[in-house]
């Protein structure tokens, strides 16, 4: 199958590659860029496990083609750490509250939460639940995830 050249920014670095037009973005990230932190869960846009940030917005990488990334800014869970490689406040908060069990939904959950906190640094509990309601977790019942995002907001001083 013919491939199309694509150029986009991935986790702050520019990338040039080529993808068959029908290849999904999640497959491209995982199989071509070896960024396996982004997970496929349902491949029909419901579960949110494949959530990445696309020009800052949280989107489903299973519902996009890789070629649609051309010219855009993409970030994944691998790009969440601080520049020195240390854990971001959000990641560290997920660890502190044990906001996961199997860890499969965690990268998508982190990307959704990071987008929320960028837009709304001091979200209410209700706003947090609303923001993550498009990311399914089967292990935790969400409680410790909500607590992690609350903790991250507190640590950055935006929430009491």
């Amino acid at each position: 199958m013919t491939k199309t050249e694509i150029k986009f920014t991935i986790n702050g670095r520019s990338h040039v590659g080529e993808a068959p037009p029908r290849m999904t973005l999640v497959d491209y990230l995982r199989d071509e860029l070896n960024l396996t932190g982004t997970h496929a869960g349902c491949e029909h846009g419901v579960c949110g496990a494949c959530t990445i940030r696309f020009d800052g917005e949280p989107v489903r990488a299973c519902l996009m083609f890789a070629v649609q990334a051309d010219g855009h800014d993409v970030s994944t869970v691998e790009g969440l750490v601080n520049e020195d490689g240390s854990l971001s406040v959000l990641q560290d908060s997920f660890w502190e509250t044990h906001a996961m069990q199997c860890g499969y939904c965690t990268p998508g959950m982190l990307m959704t939460a990071s987008a929320l906190l960028d837009e709304n640094p001091g979200p209410s509990t209700e706003e947090i639940r609303d923001a993550i309601s498009g990311n399914l977790c089967r292990c935790t019942g969400y409680q410790q995830i909500v607590e992690a995002i609350e903790l991250a907001a507190k640590r950055t001083g935006e929430r009491d």
Binding site: P20, R22, M23, R30, L35, T36, G37, T38, H39, A40, G41, C42, E43, H44, V46, C47, A49, T76, V77, E78, L80, V81, L87, Q91, D92, F94, W95, E96, T97, H98, A99, M100, Q101, C102, G103, Y104, C105, T106, P107, L110, T125, I128, R129, D130, I132, S133, G134, N135, L136, C137, R138, C139, T140, G141, Y142, Q143, Q144, I145, V146
Partner: protein, 808 residues
Amino acid sequence: MASTPDHTDNYHYVSKKRRTREDRRFITGKGKFVADVKHSGMLHVALVSSPHPRANIRSIDVSAALALPGVHYVLTGDELSVATSPLYHGLDIPNVRWFPLAVGMTRYAGEWVTAVVADSRYVAEDAAELVLVEYEALPAAVDTEHVMDEDAPLVHPDHGSNVLFHDTFVWGPVEDDFAAADHTLSYRARWARSSTVPIETFGVSARWDEAHEILDVWASIQMPNYPEQIAGALGIPLNGVRVHNDVDVGGSYGVKRGIKHTVLVGYLCRKLGRPVRVIEDRLDNMAGGDAHGPDRIFDVELAFDGDGTWKSMRFRAIDDVGAYPGRAPLQLGKPITALCGPYRVNSISYEAMSVLSNKTGQVPVRGFGQAPTNFMTETGIEHIAAFLGMDRIEIRRRNMIESHQFPWTIPTGTSYDSGDYHAVVDKAMDLAGYDELVARREAIRAKGGLAGIGFATCIEPGGGNNIFERLLNEKLNITTFSEACQIRIDAQGAITAIMGTTTSGQGHETLVSTIAGEELERDPNLIRVVHSDSIESLPTRSPVASRMAIMLGGSASGAARKLRASMIRIAAHNLGVSIDEIEYDGGDVWVRSDPERKLTWEGICFIAHRQFHNMPDGMEPGLQATDVLQVPAGGVMPDENNRVQMYPCYSFQAHIPFVEIDPGTGKVTIHQYALAHDCGTVINPDIVRGMIIGGAAHGIGAALYEKFEYSEDGQLLAGSFVDYLLPSAHEIPEIRDVEHCTPSPRTSLGQKGSGEGGYLGAPAAIASAVNDALSPLGTRMDELPLRLKDIEAVIHNAKTANTTEPAA
């Protein structure tokens, strides 16, 4: 055993807030899930599934698929069934033959018919559409209540019936108790076909290593005896199957048992000389993955006295296992270990029936049959309360086993180890603010609204054992379900613990490092925990049955205690005193009467590894210990009356949700959810809390939303997340929990199981709340899930009946 609230204060690490060992890799995207494992030259499988619930396969034309560039092979059931042995069933049913691909006949819509192997999944999917299968569609057996009818289509004609198992067990004087009781009542409870549906589907890759004659397997697996079943089906010696247990499993809760997937790729990788993998897509998973859960009809009779004393129960459970039973029918057996919950019922009659239907196969699900059973018993005690006009909580309290009565033996022959049920109920009611909830409910009702307080308890058996299998299959005479841990301390003093199974979110690395650290008084964060592969590993039975804190934790305690004893012995020898004169503190050892005479941890490790001349007589070099743990209290076959001690440990929970129902739409909103739990000594509080809250959320799904709905003619109507509804953070409320600790006398640190209880208690609790809300209408619902449209219909019918009544 009396509760000792302070007993965990003595621990350094156990029961203390500590970060888990696992989470760091997940928050950085560095988990190693099966789809992340890549092999050079790997081929990919796409599956062609049957569109018919039941059909004869007339012909399969693979020529067009094979002609597509990039396609390597198309496998059919005819080839595979000749080359492999049938997959394992728990029951003795030799004429129910199960292979990864349909052979001659398809038995449910979604069953795999052919497997296409290609360079990429994309090409494999293209080719799958080119496979031409000619079917002769046949009528299907769909309605559970009618699959045993004489004229019902047979799912497996060679078996001669759709009934797989049918027997009645009687424990105690059931007839006498029913005759003597003041009252009896009967009801039907229905548990829908649902499942755990992890966010990661099942996947497996396999590579045949010809030079060593080893089949390497990487799988998203949580399954006892997985290597054995692979070896058996493929005709490979067990020491030629190497399952890599360091694969992270993206959720399971019982269902990740892809033995058919594994045999399929195991066969293909040998045949093709290339690594092969299959990763289910969501439809493969939900329609063709054979991962549905119990689907049960309970018809129950209860005998009780006017004061609320519950004397006896007599019930029939029909469980619809779909087309391929595997181990699933044994889920009728495990509940025998806690059949009457926390209540002092004197006698029980249990008619168990496992039936086939033309639906996706059933698999073990969280609790192994205990969640439906607990829903049935808790529904029963609510019926008694309603019959007698008694308070639902008071009647439970009158029947609960008292804390001084442990160990308490239930009629089926199993003794519960410990508990303080009243204390847990008290804590749940305090946390819920029960009196305020009642006031809140009454205020809503006064305005014409529908509000309800739910209440349910559950017993969570923990520790696992195969012994109950004997009751369903007399050929199974297995009396152990062991687990093992090896711990090594190297010459520099670093500790490595080795476990032999996968993890699917339970935090075993944290469990083992915490317990080993506690026993050796060393920092758990410095203890490495590795998952050995199945060839290297000691006997293991995988993380099922709420058993790992008990069994893996127990073996970690055992191995660590042996090492501690070895270190004391080496130190005493070198310090020239007896071991009784030694003090061990944090790994350093000194003479009690003269603390200056001392050996450090590092010093002892160096002696053990390098200075044989300083070792006591009879000790081997190095510091390594192994502990293989037999199930506590297990090991004895059932007696002639089918009485048997099954699991060792019995945790307890009490759940109190508060719901409101929109009278117009039937929508249930959970305003508040409180629960109290007692799983003995907690190893890691965050992990236990997550397990319990997550289990309750899973139970809320089963109670309100989740069902693998089938059309009357056998088509699955819920094959995506648009139709099969997993609860989100909108549906799951804040769940508040409070802990109580009654240590188990049967385990190394008093720990019990905690992985299943939330899922056992929540469905009954939500049903209780919904029915409390509906009670002013004079109606109730005992069929899960309690979906919006069904509740709306019940409300509508009740209101219609109420308004037409005066005219009648």
